[in-house]
Amino acid sequence: MEALPFDLQILNALAALLLLLSFAMLSQRRIVTLVNLLAVQGALLCIATVLLAWRTGANHLYFSAGLTLALKVIFLPWLLHRLIRRLGVYWDTEPLLNTTGTMLIGVLVVVFSFGLAQPISALASTATRNAIGIAVAVVLIAFMTMITRRKAMSQVVGFLSMENGLFFGAMSATYGMPMIVELGVALDVLVAMLVLGVFFFQIREQFDSLDLSHLESLKEDQ
């Protein structure tokens, strides 16, 4: 048997847990739990970043771990919970597909993304290159989470989860993005979140619900 160093084993385990959380988010119907899962995903990402920083000695990774902790574990979930309370949306009904079907398609997505990531992993020289496939899978499953939901709230959670996947991908492929890019992305996400928060209220005022299918028709008269 191959004897991986223990910290790498933990990193692998964290990658596997991230994938598992993506599936949990894919199958979750309650928006409150969905936000909590997002916070857990952020926390796992933070731990993985700290571990990687300790392993590689790349000090800027500590900084991005701190950023992840502040933004994705504490601030954004808090903001989302507040929005849920104020909008009074606790349930996300009417998924477009049933849970079992969604999960099985999710498995196919994982297989696809593992195949997709194979050549990239072969090119990468990092110790965590095997996890690139998982990062791609997390991104695509978050994408699926967005596609299979109708309500604006869970689509936003899917969007944030996608960002988590991208971050993890960058981390495992090249030990993190340059600091300036990372800051830019973090700011983007933050601003997008704030704008979307305002947007939610506008949508609700216009349509009395957060169901995005209302936005599909171009004219108001039916």
Binding site: M1, F6, L17, M103, V110, N130
Partner: protein
């Protein structure tokens, strides 16, 4: 193969036969404690079996020979399965006869016979139970096979004792894939043994029961064998779980001392596992029958995720 291996083999089978009803009693007792009820005595399953063996059998007049044969076949397959599963020692002479995939086949054989026997007499409840049993079975089996595939990938063999010997003796390593499959296996265990999220073992409400509905027509010694086989099935599943996920303490060498130690450790593991099953059963609610596919699809998903993680990360 030495005489000692045969001793270990026979000891393993005897332990399974004797401990299975005791384990069932322990699970029931824990469950009663957790639910604030006064617990049934630990030996109740034994007494039930003894009582049933002393009764005269009543068999429906239109029952075919298959109906009489089924309890013996089911009991026999469960004992054979107990002989293959490394519960106390890994060097078992019997394991040359069948690997882990054949073990799944053995369980399937038992299921087919139970279901056929339930349909044999032609009562509505028996047929209903048989159909449900087959539905659960056909959903649980792929998940169980996936669990075994993951373990086989890690051990590079499908023989259960070799896998657990390898896992027990190598240096400690984190296996996320095994963790996922452990969750999947627990779910399959609950579904296959008619435990709470899928079936309530304590119910006699006709519309919800699965396992009880299958046994409605049986009495006396046939019923005793069926109940004993059900207890053995639970014991076997728990021992497969031990062999794959907590194999430490299995006797891998030939020494009476090691064998005794592994027997004691098995007892300790069983005590913990029984409490665990009772806890899961207490905190979860029974699912509607139509939700059972969702439950088992989740188990399948966990197992497939384990497989994918194993293939990609090598972990």
């Amino acid at each position: 193969m030495t005489a000692f291996d045969w001793v270990a083999q026979i000891l393993g089978i005897l332990a399974a036969l004797l401990a299975a009803p005791l384990f069932l009693g322990w699970v029931n007792q824990c469950r009663a404690w957790l639910q604030n009820k006064s617990a049934p005595p630990l030996m109740l399953p034994y007494r039930g079996i003894r009582k049933l063996f002393h009764k005269d059998a009543v068999i429906a007049s239109n029952a075919s020979p298959l109906f009489r044969l089924a309890p013996y076949v089911v009991f026999g397959t469960m004992v054979t399965a107990a002989a293959i599963i490394p519960s106390i020692a890994t060097r078992l002479p019997f394991t040359r006869a069948a690997d882990a995939i054949a073990l799944v086949g053995l369980f399937a054989t038992a299921r087919v016979f139970v279901s056929l026997a339930a349909m044999d007499v032609g009562t509505a409840f028996g047929t209903l139970g048989a159909r449900r049993e087959m539905m659960i079975g056909f959903l649980a089996e792929p998940a169980l096979l996936m669990v075994i595939f993951v373990a086989s990938l890690i051990g590079a063999t499908t023989a259960l004792p070799q896998i657990s010997e390898l896992l027990a003796t190598q240096s400690l390593a984190l296996y996320p894939s095994l963790a996922f499959t452990a969750v999947a296996f627990t779910m399959v265990l609950l579904a296959e043994n008619a435990r709470i999220p899928v079936d309530n073992p304590a119910t006699h409400l006709e519309l919800t029961m699965i396992h009880e509905a299958l046994l409605l027509e049986y009495s006396a010694r046939h019923l005793a064998l069926m109940e004993w086989a059900a207890a053995l099935k639970l014991f076997n599943y728990v021992c497969i779980g031990f062999a794959l996920f907590i194999p430490w303490g299995l006797a891998t060498s030939q020494a009476p001392f090691v064998l005794t130690l592994s027997l004691l450790l098995l007892g300790a593991k069983l005590v913990l596992a029984g409490a665990g099953i009772a806890l899961i059963e207490t905190v979860s609610a029974k699912l509607r029958v139509f939700r059972a596919p969702e439950f088992l699809a989740t188990a399948f998903l966990f197992a497939v995720l384990g497989l994918l993680v194993r293939l990609l990360l090598g972990a």
